[in-house]
Subunit: 397 residues, 2 copies
């Protein structure tokens, strides 16, 4: 397997972006990624595009965005893995470089969701769990699904609603420091706890927004990277997994089995012990589509023992300065969650973190040289975990 | 780049498949591919799933199909490249093995379109050209787009409507010999020429049907393949390209520029001269969504000189026994065109051809040991060309 380096990153402002079409939104991040890498479109050999789609009138966004970005005759495809779509696009681009098929690849994640009215978007996302067995019969939407996880967790481990709220307070705090974030407002624990219920115990501030946005990453082979940059960020490990779409077939609601499986695979590839990941990882982005999801992620990644994830928040261990800073760009909760852009946006953030380029008091200490992105699709249907490193991995050749 | 071999193939019956759900339809081909490879689900390390989607109520078909096929905790994603979706899924699976990420990968292409009423499906496909600039303003659907190609070609080169019809006659003939084909009826030149107009000069028999179907391929690394089979079929070259979605930005209508670009790339990777591909290739499947598209493919692949593609049909050179048998499984025209399954189905057919396993008088002579699949997405938005071989490629290592 060839080594793969990140040599350029770009990200648009996330939020309600009625000011641009989807291809214009894509260009905002592609342009920045090209500039960051110091290359032009002619250097790109393949484009991997992540879009969930269907919130927007354009049915073939990959071709359209490539056309607008002057990326014709490269070869492209669209990947989808629900809310992990961006990471799936990254994985696809990674393999195209790792295999030797291409030396320089663009990974673009883009989503324009706000054109659809919120109830339509919420219903649409709800259908993407398991339409036949669950949505058609029970009409469950995603806040409802994650509420099942929250109640199961609270019941089993004694966490309270204010423990969930602490995720929102942290992520809004960091969102306030991130000029690209959808939400820039800080909130207090009281704001969060007193916000209106969406699906008990989840309240307004437990839910991430529906956002528009794009993010882009340029990947290069070791040889190509050497010519382009002195600070390549290497892909050290990727773990991918999938579980049943049908909640009644899951073994429990206090963990996402696909996330545990993906973490074990990614740690193995990266040479990281599952028993002690914090010995290796400086900073992480995890999939906080709902506050409970961030707590489950702490435990699925083994950042905390089972049933103790919420204690990390009580102790502020996932703030900068704590054991393991998490979602210090605002996370899905405050930075926003444009489905296809989310996973790529995590990689953009972590690349900048590892390069020590983050401003406004959001730079985490980089000591061990590794960062982790955890991106879940659906209610744990998919999980993609990507580990980045300042150091070239040993398996590459 | 590691060598990648096809070690198992399976395909469902194409047609109106209201007898099964999408996941049951997937299992029909997955089961056969597993049996053909002599492996079980536990041997699969990753699943690449090609589905266009949106014709069916299930929004996340990849996860659903994997679940039903007992393929949880493998890692999966959905690829989409319009009508070339199946080939994009194959390309994604290929890279996962070629890179060394996985040793055994399942590629599944599946589509269930017939649940949508035909006018809805036709409108939906029409939107997938360029919604904003073309569909919304002019309401063009795909027969209309390909009619533009047909009139331009007929005007420039002097081909007639009966030349288009000859594609349909050939492909229905081979469809009649293929028990998995959507249409099993033979037609005469008169049947085709006298059928009703859909978009002049394209008539009913110039258009492929809307179909349900699935196809599956199992890919393996050289080491894994050696343990599984004595007759591996190797991937010798893949070329991928994309063009503008906007017809007004194309340089002409008598060729698909993305197909020419993809062919040049695939031939280069396979070590085949663009000037003389028929010296290498025994049999091909090309993208005959409309009859004119098969004629353009002959020329874009350089099976015939510019303006002479239709002469191959007059001389019956693309029948078995001719210079280059094309679509001897019935093609999209008669075998059917379930979008995600189409490209994978081409690979299934060509694998069986190279293994000399095809029955009912459909086996092409295999002398040179190479076969080619040409799969177009949209109106030339995407093109994927895959070259298979009985011989291990020289570039593999």
């Amino acid at each position: 397997m060839r080594n793969v380096a990140i040599v350029g990153v770009g990200i648009s402002r996330f939020g309600v972006r009625n000011d641009v079409r989807i291809d214009e939104l894509a260009w905002e991040s592609v342009k920045d990624a090209l500039n960051d890498a110091g290359i032009e479109q002619r250097d790109i050999e393949f484009c991997s595009v992540g879009t969930f789609g269907s919130f927007n009138a354009e049915i073939l966004p990959a071709v359209l965005c490539c056309d607008y970005c002057n990326l014709r005759f490269k070869g492209t495809l669209r990947t989808e893995a629900a809310c992990a779509t961006g990471s799936a696009a990254f994985f696809t681009g990674f393999n195209a470089v790792a295999s030797g098929f291409a030396d320089i690849v663009l990974v673009l994640g883009v989503e324009k969701m706000c054109e659809s009215p919120t109830p339509v978007a919420v219903e649409f996302i709800g259908r993407s769990a398991n339409y036949f067995w669950e949505f058609e019969n029970f009409g469950v939407t995603f806040p409802g699904y994650y509420a099942l996880h929250a109640t199961a967790y609270m019941n089993k481990y004694g966490a309270g609603e204010e423990d969930l709220a602490r995720v929102a307070v942290k992520n809004h705090y960091y969102g306030s420091l991130n000029p690209k974030a959808h939400f820039r407002n800080r909130i207090t624990l009281e704001d969060a706890v007193k916000s209106r219920y969406v699906a008990w115990p989840l309240k307004l501030y437990d839910c991430c927004p529906i956002s528009d946005g794009s993010a882009a990453v340029i990947l290069a082979s070791e040889e190509a990277a050497r010519k382009l940059t002195d600070t390549p960020i290497w892909v050290r490990g990727i773990g991918v997994s999938n579980d049943s779409a049908n909640m009644s077939r899951r073994s429990g609601f206090t963990s996402l089995a696909a996330a545990v499986d993906a973490a074990r695979k990614a740690y193995r590839m990266a040479g990281i012990e599952y028993d002690d990941p914090l010995r290796y990882i400086d900073v992480a982005n995890v999939h906080d589509c709902f506050t409970i999801a961030e707590i489950l992620a702490y435990e699925d990644l083994n950042f905390a023992k089972r049933g103790e994830g919420y204690l990390l928040l009580r102790e502020e261990q996932t703030y900068i300065g704590g054991k393991i800073p998490v979602n210090v760009d605002g996370g899905l909760k405050a930075k926003g969650h444009p489905l296809g852009a989310t996973g790529v946006g995590m990689i953009v953030e972590l690349t900048k973190q590892l390069r020590k380029q983050v401003e406004n008091g959001r730079q985490a200490p980089i000591v061990k040289g590794n960062a982790l992105a955890h991106n879940v699709g659906g209610t744990g249907h998919y999980c993609y975990i990507t580990i980045l490193s300042t150091e070239k991995p040993k398996w590459g050749g």
